[in-house]
Symmetry: C2
Subunit: 386 residues, 2 copies
Amino acid sequence: MLNFDFYNPTHIAFGEGKIADLNTLVPHNARVLMLYGGGSIHKNGVYDEVKLALGSRLVAEFSGIEPNPTYETLMKAVAEVKAHQIDFLLAVGGGSVIDGTKFVAAAAVFEGDDPWEILEKRGNNVNSALPFGSVLTLPATGSEMNSGAVITRTSIHAKLAFGSRHCFPQFSVLDPVKTYTLPVRQVGNGVVDAFVHVMEQYLTYPVNAPVQDRFAEGILLTLIEEGPKALETPENYEVRANLMWAATMALNGVISTGVPQDWATHMIGHELTALHGLDHAQTLAIILPAMLRVRKEAKREKLLQFADRVWGLRDGDEASRIESAISRMQAFFETMGVKTRLQDYGLGAEHIPALIASLEAHRMTKLGERRDVTPDISRQVLELAI
Amino acid sequence: MLNFDFYNPTHIAFGEGKIADLNTLVPHNARVLMLYGGGSIHKNGVYDEVKLALGSRLVAEFSGIEPNPTYETLMKAVAEVKAHQIDFLLAVGGGSVIDGTKFVAAAAVFEGDDPWEILEKRGNNVNSALPFGSVLTLPATGSEMNSGAVITRTSIHAKLAFGSRHCFPQFSVLDPVKTYTLPVRQVGNGVVDAFVHVMEQYLTYPVNAPVQDRFAEGILLTLIEEGPKALETPENYEVRANLMWAATMALNGVISTGVPQDWATHMIGHELTALHGLDHAQTLAIILPAMLRVRKEAKREKLLQFADRVWGLRDGDEASRIESAISRMQAFFETMGVKTRLQDYGLGAEHIPALIASLEAHRMTKLGERRDVTPDISRQVLELAI
């Protein structure tokens, strides 16, 4: 096991009816800015429940945070914070709204010249942030219980990540009932997103960390079992609850303690979203199977463990078990309604040079758990993913 | 899954050499009281490393916190805190030292008349506590990453638990190297203690919580695999690291999210320690096998899951699989050097009435995940454990 630090102070309030707890979770004298995306929270009742729970607190609103939240939009929210002397942010939505709120929280009190520097420095220049909480409506990104965020700057086609210990939500409310009405596409994306988060922390090389490995495998098995059920029976509370908790545990720091991490799939995926607008999970579903095939030698031992413990593949030679495991994973993504080839999204070989150029422009030239995923290897991955 | 709240702000600094991080973890202007047990930290170098890391900070010391820390001893530490205007506590030791420090932290600022009321009210009357951290030397109790403690009052033969959200360590430093020199008895006790902690949260009744179940099973499997290796090769870093992290994850709130909890074995065990001085883990090793046998109908489904997933028992009828699983667990405790019958400790049927009377005196009359473990059932358990 590698040395590590673990710190995660986010209070999770989980279960049906828990939105009412906002009345104790948000300070009574807070001047709140409630941030959300489109109109879904008006349709599913979340907006009304949140407002009711906040009672007589002063609540301003900022709506219109888009999927892959943009710097351009979020800077408007920062202006609202300053205009109304807001001292508490409440994100109501999925990972994009929570990620965006983290940026607003940091940018509103940023001491530098331009808050975009937060992304350029990956958050190392964040020394404080406004306190904030979240009400999660879409299990997927894990943003509700971590301190990271990914922000897009449309004008320069950049999608970059930052993180800071000042950017943990103080609390997140997770009510599985509020996920019943999610569109099928978002359910599928969410399951794939959580699955790939686990893989980025698990499918590297062994460091003798059996607790972390088994936790990771436990989340993967749960996503495989419960994901399809959520598509079949959308109003099954237990299925929704298990998916919601699995997605949170997939990226709250627990399974990454003391183990190497990859994240190359995410970095290449970010370029696909920035240049071509694909959903985040779609990019992961395209890149990961190809990445594992290209890097199967470097990841051999963990691929065999994944084949055995997650897919029950114990017969045949090593190469066939590895290929079967990757194929099963890819088929699972397709089962969740997420296509896994570039061509499924109208993309081909002609788009690869620009993607590689973007990776290089963003200094994503040494990716992966051993920093040996060069632009040339990223090109091989993209070519195999066509 | 049941509704739940999860909150755990303890910062974990894990790995070889991490004691040096105290220099950043403890405030530079702190007036520190360092609390420890006997002389082992002088022999294994921990004392010197801690002092070095604390640098020029003002550090007072309080030694002599015993296994099953007593109210009598701890109140002397409270007097030291007040005499020296201490504003930060640093526990250096195992679960007893950390538990004791939690009580000192709460008692030093307690607003009531007598800090023993903290135990009588189970901590519900704790409104604040001094900040504190820990350096863990004995993986076992999980106290390094939770907010609970068990305190003994010798004068009245009482061993009671309390907990408060104000009593999380701010940080805990876990260096597996510092566990190399532990006596065999403490290694065995620690593994059994962690194992039973998991069982109290896992072996109840199913609520469809697959992530939590698999996490629990992952910790149990790790303890079963790594525990005996720690006895065979005491200076194996990886084994010690895995045991240390397994014991922390066993009782930091992660695996208890959304599931029922039992704790009847612990409550009966506390009486055995209070009346007869047995090690905490010895009491658990005695009580748990008998408890599972007496309550095998109520726990049937989870016992079958435990037999299957932890012990690989899939053949034979249900009753034989359940008995085999319990026997295997009991044999594992014995392998770790912890005897599992009352008679192994010189105790027999004649001691049971007083144990039951103590349970009743401490209002431990409705125990277990369904509150149906009456004194009569506790008596059956003790009789079966002879």
